[in-house]
Amino acid sequence: MATTTIDPVNERGGFRRRISRVLYQRPRLRLALLLGGPLTWLVVAYLGSLVALLVTSLYHYQDDPTGLVQRLVTSPSATNYQRVLNTDVYRTVAFRTIGAALSVTVIDLLIALPVAFYMAKLARPWVRRALVVAVTMPLWAGYLVKGYAWRAMLDPAGGVLHEVFGHSPGFGVSGTVVTLSYLWLPYMVIPIYAGLERLPNSLLEASTDLGAKAGRTFVRIVLPQLRPSIVAGSIFTFALTLGDFYMAQIVGGTTQFIGNVVYREFSANLPFAAAYATLPILIMVVYLAGARSSGALEEL
């Protein structure tokens, strides 16, 4: 590849050369060519769909005057949103889901902090590299497979937990929270590990020199510096739990999350499903906007 020669005679000619020159001289054109495809795809396929979903959520079904069939009313109204706010069951499900998302986030944070700290600050370099791979790999190994594995393990009749430890949370909200914490743990470990690795050791040494014990150094120095990393990790654990409905089906028994209600209503009453699905969107947009201002999105 080093032997490419440029022929000065043809320097001015050649179609490719001319295009190249135009591209070189016009960065705006270059940008348009680069961005056109991906942006069109994302805006048309994705944003368009999101807008369509929001518009659909303003429709609602109404009883026909005969009372026999339901009629779709396409003039915009907040009927579905009112139903979400005024129905006990939908409120309960929403709070249960948010509670599960918070629980999963806190559990994962408590597990991830010591693990990430060990990886970044205590382990030898080769152990550290091996641990990064070991923690990351399970992320990609079958979301559904892992749910199924936990179904086998949580089963009160013959599952590992019951047989070996004599106790299993069984199929329900706690079983689902355990399974989801397991599923999303690496998403919390990796950003925190990355944040700790960037944290200069001299900072920790300075804290020790000034007389702080390990615990105090951790709370006063490490945690504040880690904030963007923790926010980045929590985006994953929180958002993924908020929208999950497969795990509630697999290990949740009769547990209903927002996703389960959306899934059930999806084929029967799409406008209502759409309205209910905006709940996680609203929560996440607020969350992401906050995360963006704290600079955590750079961590993703």
Binding site: P27, L35, S49, L53, E205, A273
Partner: protein, 267 residues
């Protein structure tokens, strides 16, 4: 900071325990796939290859495997092109709305899968497109773009622009510079991004539920549809093991190709 010997051992032990918990469920299913008993009850009993033989001859899992491969290949190919273009645009150019574009690119994975799923479903419905392989591939490509983007952009940011400037100074045109300088330097990042996109698509079920045509069963869907039938559990164990292996291999390769944890938190 000074960490006492006891605390060190405690942290090492805790990390080891977490690793055991991370891997046990996956290994347990692999063990069950060669289990004599049909149930998943503890402890496993004996060894047999009967279920692997049965799975090799069953048409359901095989069809599902081909569908998953088909979808993942097409989706990651599209994502590779679009994600690479986007990463060049966003790392090499500063323009109004740049942050908005990167925000839109992250949205398909930042928003819950069920939202992406029913949004795309109702989008297709509105335009009058029936669900098919096409709609599934479009959906998967949409959330895979950001994976490729992250990998390639990370590499481009580290790549010194002076190399490309030197190439231009020596008389190379834009295409020669790309072909001789830029592309070879980012080839492994492209491959890593594509592999991760493949793995993500291969494993996806939520968006798939809403964007695959009726009767179009990918491997994860097949597992879900069969895990509540006690008779099919041995086959589910085999298929589940295959899914794990097939999604781990591309990720492992991607890890080796990309620099450290760059691709790790890409999802």
């Amino acid at each position: 900071m000074y960490v006492s010997r006891a605390a060190r051992y405690l942290l090492a032990g805790f990390t080891a325990l977490v690793l055991v918990v991370l891997y046990f469920p996956i290994l347990y299913i692999a063990r069950l796939s060669i289990n004599k008993a049909r149930s998943y009850a503890w402890p496993p009993q004996g060894f047999t290859l009967e279920w692997w033989r049965a799975a090799a001859h069953a048409s359901g899992p095989r069809d599902a495997l081909f569908r998953s491969l088909e979808t993942a290949l097409l989706a990651s190919a599209i994502a590779l092109v679009l994600g690479t273009l986007a990463s060049f645009a966003l790392t090499r150019h500063h323009f109004f709305g740049r942050n908005a574009v990167s925000f839109i690119a992250v949205l398909p994975i930042a928003l819950p899968g069920i939202v992406t799923g029913i949004a795309l479903n109702s989008g297709y419905h509105r335009v009058g497109i029936n669900l098919s392989l096409f709609t599934l591939v479009v959906a998967h490509a949409t959330f895979c773009i950001v994976i490729v983007y992250n990998n390639v952009a990370a590499r481009l940011r580290r790549l010194s622009p002076s190399l490309e400037e030197a190439s231009a100074d020596l008389g190379a045109d834009v295409f020669q510079t790309f072909g001789y300088i830029t592309f070879p330097l980012m080839r492994s990042a492209l491959l890593a991004g594509a592999l991760l996109a493949f793995a993500l698509s291969f494993d996806e079920i939520v968006v798939t539920t809403f964007t695959a045509g009726a009767g179009f069963e990918t491997l994860p869907l097949w597992i879900f549809n069969n895990m509540f039938r006690p008779n099919n559990l041995p086959l589910v164990n085999v298929v589940a093991t295959v899914v794990v292996v097939l999604s781990i291999i591309p990720v492992y390769l991607a890890q080796r190709l990309s620099d450290g944890a760059a691709g790790a938190s890409g999802r």
